[in-house]
Every structure is written in structure tokens, then in C-alpha cells.
Amino acid sequence: MTDMKPSSADGRYTGTAIALHWLIAILIIGGFWLGWVMTDIPGLTPTKLRYFSWHKWIGVTVFALAWLRVLWRLTHPAPPLPAGMPALQRLVSNAVHGLLYALMILIPASGYLYSAAAGVQVVYLGILPLPTLIGPDQQLKVIFRLTHIYLNYALLGLFALHLLGVVKHTLIDRDGLLSRMIPFLR
């Protein structure tokens, strides 16, 4: 966390970038899984209410950390891609990463607005009531619900591409690209 050098100095991401990547990754996977499970629970049960709350708390956390991560990234450039990488692959890589950053912010935002439109305030960790930007609105509720769902499917697709990239660089290119993001290598 104290590593203030530009990340490109030794070809690795900074400790902070690595920590944020994995922390957000775990939160997103947990939040996605909770969202999947809780919406499959029929009717209304205490477990469902609990899962909804936890899901929202995770979303708020990801939202805040994602902004922090974007700020960090803007001030600490990512290490360069392997020299021989074709332009198209660079473009795809940059596009997927850019979209992943966007979704880390847009997905919690859409969920938050969906909750507000449904008339349910988000109280972070059950302690901090967040402002309700919009009042209850049946039409907006439907719109934000669908937005939240479709953005999550988009995230799932991008996550698959992200993992395919890992497979490609590890098994096909064997360029050791992954070591840039593995913690505790130094």
C-alpha cells in the first residue's frame, strides 16, 4: 500500500492496484452470486430480506472502491502490455478493461436507483442511511430493474472474456502477464 512508484517501473501493478483488484473481484463475485440466489427465492422470507440487504451493502462498497480504483489508475498508469502484442488485441484488452471499470460503477448505481424507485432506501451496513435520489416510481422501477439485470449479464460476458485472456496469456502466449496482478510476488 505504501508503494508510490509508477506501476510500470518493474512491469507490475502497484500493491494498491493489486489489492483493489482482488478485493473488488471477491466482492463482485459474492454480490453477483447473492443477487442470483436472492432473486430465485419465491415470495418474501427473512432470508431474502437479509440477502437483499447484504447484496446492497456489497454494491455500495464496490461503488466506492471502484471510484478509488479509477482515481488510482489515473494517477498510476498500468504496466505496459507485452511488446509483441498485436494492435487488435491491445484494443480488445483496453476495451474490456474500460468496460469493466464502467460496470463496476454503473451496476451498483443502477441497483441503487432500482431500490430507490421501488421505495426502499439503502441503509449501508444497516447503519448509514443513504440519500434517496428518486422517489417511488413504478415506471422507473421497471427500467432500472432491467438495466441492472442487463448490465450484469454484460458483466458476466466481460468477466468470461477477462478469464479467457488469462487462459490465453498463461497457456498459449506463456508471457507471464498474470504475474503483474498476483499479490505477494515480491
Binding site: 419465491p42 415470495g43 418474501l44 422470507t45 427473512p46 430480506l49 437479509r50 437483499f52 440487504s53 421501488a118 421505495g119 426502499v120 432506501q121 439503502v122 441503509v123 444497516g126 447503519i127 417511488p136 413504478q138
Partner: protein, 194 residues
């Protein structure tokens, strides 16, 4: 359940037998008509510390109130618990069910005043019997009163404990998800008696 109510409040018994207070209102033309389109009765619960506001879409009420003679005043309410709206039909369905309101067995929650005393300028303490899900409780409701042209406007809130009325049984007894404390709120607009 209705035996005790019939004993304590004959009017309510008539109302239950008639299946609605509207009939009763017709028989008591002197009572002021509550404008249900302008009036709101809601119950605010806390789910995982999130305040959740639900409105009772259907209720009937009659209020006989003269600010100069509060001792002679009377109020009664009958709320259709199946009309409780949380803004989501699957939630509403659960709340109408046996664990919550059990609307099939106890269709109405009622309040019948027993005494009304002034407790300051424009405020009154309304004592009465609150009955929800067949359980009765004597309550004192602080009410503010305001004359608005030809209308009488009453506002107030009453904190209750839901478990006292068996609201939320089974796994819902767990107050860490839905708190025991529930706030009943009302805004009643009534045309003054002719």
C-alpha cells in the same frame, strides 16, 4: 375474538356484522364523513434497519369532533388489512398471509375511541381500543388537530409492537430482520359536521 369487542364497543359489533362502517355511517348521518381520498393511514416498519412505508389503501372512518367539546368527541376506524400496499405485489401477498395480517380470518383492524382530552393547543390525547388480528390493546394516541376551511384535519402517529398483535409469526418472529417496533401514522381529512 369478537365477544370482547362486542361487549366493549357495541358500535363496532354492528360494524363487523354489517361488514363495513359505510353502512354504519349511513345510519349515523350526524357523523362527519372522512374523505378517504385525502386521508392516509400507513404503517412504517424497519427491515434490516431500512424504514419501509406501506399504506392501507382501503379504510373507513367516522369522526365526531367539536374542538370546543372534546369530551363528547368520538372516533372510529376500520382498516382493510388486505389493502396494505408495500409497492410490490409479491410482498403484499406475503403480508396478507397467515404469518402476518391473516387477512382471510381477520379482515379488519379497528380503533374505537373511549375518551378524548385536550393536551395543549391543537393537540389531543385520544384513548381507545386498538384491535389488530383479533388482539385488542388500550392505547393513547397523540393527535394534532387543525381546522382547514370546512375540513377538519387530524395528524398523528402511534408506535406499536407488532409481536403484541401476533403480526409476523413463524420465522418472521426474528426481530433482527423486521423490527418489533412499528409506527402507525395517519393523516385524516374530514368534512365538518353539518
Amino acid at each position: 375474538m369478537s365477544v370482547s369487542i362486542l361487549k366493549s364497543a357495541g358500535r363496532l359489533g354492528l360494524q363487523l356484522a354489517a361488514g363495513g362502517v359505510l353502512v354504519l355511517n349511513a345510519a349515523h348521518a350526524a357523523w362527519a364523513q372522512v374523505d378517504t381520498s385525502k386521508s392516509v393511514i400507513s404503517a412504517v416498519s424497519k427491515q434490516m434497519n431500512v424504514p419501509v412505508d406501506g399504506k392501507f389503501k382501503k379504510f373507513t372512518a367516522s369522526i365526531d369532533f367539536d374542538p370546543a367539546k372534546p369530551a363528547a368527541a368520538k372516533a372510529q376506524f376500520s382498516v382493510d388489512v388486505a389493502s396494505y400496499d408495500l409497492g410490490d405485489e409479491s410482498f403484499n401477498k406475503e403480508v396478507r398471509g397467515k404469518d402476518w395480517f391473516d387477512a382471510a380470518t381477520f379482515p379488519n383492524a379497528t380503533f374505537v375511541s373511549t375518551s378524548i382530552v385536550s393536551s395543549g393547543a391543537g393537540t389531543y390525547s385520544v384513548s381507545g381500543k386498538l384491535t389488530i388480528k383479533g388482539k385488542s390493546s388500550d392505547v393513547v394516541v397523540p393527535v394534532t388537530f387543525k381546522q382547514d376551511g370546512a375540513n377538519q384535519v387530524f395528524d398523528g402517529a402511534l408506535p406499536i409492537k407488532r409481536l403484541q398483535f401476533n403480526i409476523g409469526q413463524g420465522e418472521w418472529k426474528d426481530t433482527s430482520v423486521v423490527a418489533d417496533d412499528v409506527q402507525l401514522k395517519f393523516h385524516i381529512v374530514s368534512a365538518a359536521k353539518k
